[in-house]
Amino acid sequence: MIKAQNADMLIAGPAFNAGRYGAACGTISKFVQDELGIPVVTAMYIENPGVDMYRKDLYIIETGNSAAAMRTAVPAVAKFAVKLAEGATIGRPAEEGYIERGIRRNVFVDKIGAQRAVEMLVSKLNDQPFETEYPMPVFDHVAPGKAIKDLSKAKIALVTSGGIVPKGNPDRIESSSASKYGKYDIESISDLTFETYETAHGGFDPVYCNDDSDRVLPVDVLRDLEKEGKIGELYRYFYTTTGNGTSVKNSNEFAEEFTKDLIADGVDAVILTST
């Protein structure tokens, strides 16, 4: 389609903090860059998963976290796109507004490394501001939890980012950028129905989920497996929030908080579903 149009350039986004949109922008941009060899630029918020996936391959203009930032994002993208199209030299990320790609370019500077290092150390010792020339990468891998030895004795908890809530969303979980999570009792529930549950998530077509929320939170199947003795127990509560644009910071805090319950109640494993 793009080839047929004889496009000179591709601009994808801005995706802001929409994760699937960011992933899509990155994927199409890289493909076009590789296959058609035309310049591409995309744009998204720093926490968008598309950034981690494609920052090494693409120019990604950094934007705010929602479409409310459109009026600053578009001029930034346009300015960069023009420069790129003209074949002008692209400067450093901070100057041009794109996210650091992890590419090192050799430049000549006036002071030798030894001098710069000592000056940086002196600033550090004097509690004065300094700027590192090479930020250390942050590795955030978590060790996998130990495998369950015997499922028939295991207590399994359900957690979802699909925003499943009791019908009517009594706690008013937001459809995007959730500021809270819900904890709901499913002790007597064997099946989620149109009458009893729905989704609060505003980032996907809710029709199928509202008809049957088991499609996002599989309570019916887990209840069957519990009755058949295939799992020890389905944990009494499920935890839910809306993944749509919710900050990493908030998601982390919610999970850290409710994980205390999981540990206190002897939960052995978690099935987390996402849309």
Binding site: A255, A269, I271
Partner: protein, 77 residues
């Protein structure tokens, strides 16, 4: 959320449609889902078939919890 829970030592399996996102955010055990609006379902099937489909995915997820992993692993069989 996956990592925050797993940091406590509790194993987590992530059932998600866009596996590359799950990999990027760092889930260790991943099971691909059917589609964004119905990760554990398919409205095109009749209800009994759909429930069988859902059960297969859940069983795969439970199986993933019984497998020791040392790195991020997608359980797609």
């Amino acid at each position: 959320m996956v990592k925050a829970i797993e940091r406590s030592g509790i194993p987590v399996v992530h059932i998600a449609t866009v596996v590359p996102i799950s990999l990027t955010v760092g889930a260790n055990r991943i099971v691909p889902a059917i589609a964004i609006p119905h990760p554990l379902g398919n409205p095109a099937l009749d209800p009994a078939e759909e429930k069988k489909l859902r059960r297969r995915i859940v069983e795969r997820a439970l199986h993933a919890l019984t497998v020791e992993v040392t790195e991020q692993t997608v359980f797609d069989k």
